[in-house]
Symmetry: C2
Subunit: 145 residues, 2 copies
């Protein structure tokens, strides 16, 4: 059954961390997996890394470039501490998903897709759309799409 | 690469919700998927439901049976509001994973596996083990195990 967003699965869980090197070592040691990509995303004010687990699903670690920044992950860490930040759903086409969402009055953070850590289009819905859960849409071709 | 826990992938994202019927309708409408199981877990003080997405990964919704209960998800909802509660990693054998974790000094909530929503063994690590993230281990045979 396909929902409004056309999502096909959980692509990753996004975790806010205070020290990227330390968290990468800890998560790889605990959960295993392979470092798929690590990059600074200056417009987001973060450095991020994705660990791909063998049978599917990724752990994405997000660390603010400036822990004193006013918003984003820096603020999340100051107010809530390190922990689960968002979940990302795979969709075949982020633009199509945003158009469908907008037509149904789903509140968005990103009105248009932008390039994410993996170099593919992504967009965030507003947390109210997920009942308090921050949802990222990530363009990802899967078996059934 | 297999880590200490032997985990093979992300089994589900666990969400704390205040109204299970409403959240089920909202998540199914938004993300799609199929209601795989819904049950009361009285020892956990919750009613829970799992939505399986077509290409993998599940959304697990957890709602307290008594919103005024002192601990658990009821307390989570009162202090943090509805949102991401835990992530569950698939492991081939929860007992083996707990033994490995204990041997390395990983802090646990469950010292022995118990039966979870899906009727298979599960166990929770202490959030300090995940750097602030509550990790559930769930016994799940996958392709590579």
């Amino acid at each position: 059954v396909i929902g409004l967003l056309g999502s096909t699965g959980i692509h990753h869980a996004g975790l806010a961390v205070a020290d990227l090197d330390e968290s990468l070592a800890a998560w790889t040691g605990l959960a295993g997996g392979v470092l798929e990509v690590r990059a600074e995303l200056p417009e987001q004010g973060v450095e991020a890394a994705a660990i791909a687990l063998p049978d599917g699903g990724e752990i994405e670690l997000i660390c603010p470039l400036d822990p004193n920044a006013a918003g984003g992950v820096a603020k999340f860490l100051r107010t809530k501490g390190p922990g689960l930040h968002h979940i990302a759903l795979s969709v075949p086409d982020v633009s199509v998903a945003l158009t469908s969402a907008r037509a149904e009055g789903v509140r968005l953070i990103d009105e248009v897709p932008r390039l994410g850590l993996h170099g593919v289009p992504v967009a965030f819905l507003h947390p109210v759309a997920g009942g308090g859960v921050l949802i990222e849409l990530i363009e990802h071709q899967t078996e059934s799409t």
